[in-house]
């Protein structure tokens, strides 16, 4: 029997997910509860078509795999069926980063408090998602765990609220830090280790259309046993670092450069090292007050 497509408004995009794999649909329904599920797909413009489907008849019996199709094409190798949901999330990251060039996109987590946005930009493994999840459960509104979406005309940050992808030790750490947080199932042996997704807070979902201007640009780094330290860095260096983390700065050319400079001009820029999550959260509370 053909399953009904899931058409989901994840501001500022509309995503259509076709899948006959029941656990994927169940996790999407759970982690994206509070989002607009569009009943009639033909009534809206869909930005991205993603299909997660079993690979073939034989693979249904021997180590079953799934393939991801984006606009009918399969840009990735298949993954085990147990990783079907993270496959959807990774595909959505990929398709946005690859095809959306009417916004400036930077690989960073973004949160907001009192109308001012905090950009946490860092390489994978820097502790960005863990810090982002902890801040979200400490009074900050989530914009995105994965990418800063910047309006090219106003330079405002736009919410792109989705579940936060936690990895390995961060999963248990966040279970202790925020016992009331809703976490989806854990997916083991992925290319990133064990992965689990944390549902965004209700406030983040309800205010998903409200933008903010950047106030702080921070490059966090988790370092075992390190003291919590925040130090200012030059704005020129910040532009260089953001450019390296931008998905589409080269595509946007001079416009992207001008937007990044304007973003940095109005922001305080720091490098941040931490090992204790609560200390880090307290520091950002002080910064925002």
């Amino acid at each position: 029997m053909k399953s009904k497509p899931i058409v989901l408004r994840i501001e500022p995009f509309v995503v259509r997910l076709d899948t006959c794999i029941a656990p994927v649909a169940e996790v999407v329904s759970s982690l994206y509860s509070g989002y607009e599920f569009i009943e009639e797909a033909s009534t809206v413009f869909v930005d991205f078509y993603i299909k997660i489907a079993p690979v073939s008849y034989l693979r249904g019996y021997y180590r079953p795999q799934v393939q991801c199709f984006i606009d009918g094409k399969a840009p990735f190798k298949p993954l085990p069926i147990s990783q079907a949901y993270p496959f959807f999330e990774w595909s959505l990251n990929w398709v946005v980063a690859s095809y959306v060039h009417h916004y400036l996109l930077v690989h960073a987590a973004v949160l907001e408090k009192n109308g001012q946005a905090l950009i946490l930009c860092g390489v994978p493994g820097a502790g960005k998602s863990t810090l982002c999840a902890a801040l979200m459960h400490s009074g900050w509104r989530l914009f995105s765990d994965e990418m800063a979406v910047i309006d090219l005309h106003t330079n405002e940050l736009m919410p792109f609220v989705r579940p936060i992808s936690l990895k390995n030790q961060a999963i248990d750490l966040m279970r202790q830090f925020a016992p009331n947080a809703v976490l989806g199932p854990s997916f083991f042996d992925t290319s990133k280790g064990t992965v689990a997704h944390m549902q965004p807070t209700q406030d983040s979902v309800l205010r998903k259309s409200i933008r903010a201007s950047a106030k702080w640009i921070v490059f966090p780094k988790y370092q075992k046993d390190a003291d919590t330290s925040l130090h200012a860095i030059p704005k020129s260096q910040t532009v260089i670092k953001l450019t390296k983390n931008a998905f589409n700065a080269n595509v946007l050319g001079g416009k992207g450069f001008k937007n990044l400079c304007a973003l940095v001009e109005g922001s305080d820029c720091y490098e941040f090292e931490y090992s204790e999550l609560q200390e880090a959260v307290n520091l950002f509370a002080d910064l925002s007050s």
Binding site: P234, G253, F257, K258
Partner: protein, 88 residues
């Protein structure tokens, strides 16, 4: 004599004392040293040849350096990275 000029569509931004430049030719963003910024800003305002640039740069400002060699290296590097161009 070869004339030097900034490459078309190069973008710059100044943060206090530091000049940042972006080249659409190479897609590279760089922070210019004081000396390179001095040269680059002169070329932004007008095309200049090597002797004119050399006489425009004041040695006293840059201490005990070989200005001619520094200028030659700076022009080569800015050209290689797509920030300036020169006529034959």
């Amino acid at each position: 004599m070869a004339l030097f000029c900034t490459f078309p569509e190069v973008f710059t931004h100044r943060f206090n004392d530091e000049l940042l430049a972006y080249s659409p030719l190479t897609g590279e963003t760089i922070v210019l040293s004081d000396f390179a910024a001095d040269i680059f800003e002169r070329l932004l305002s007008k095309q200049m040849n090597f002797p004119d640039l050399l006489s425009a740069v004041k040695p006293a400002q840059y201490g005990d350096v070989d200005i001619e060699l520094s200028l030659r290296n700076t022009l080569n590097e800015l050209g290689r990275r797509g920030f300036i161009a020169s006529s034959k």
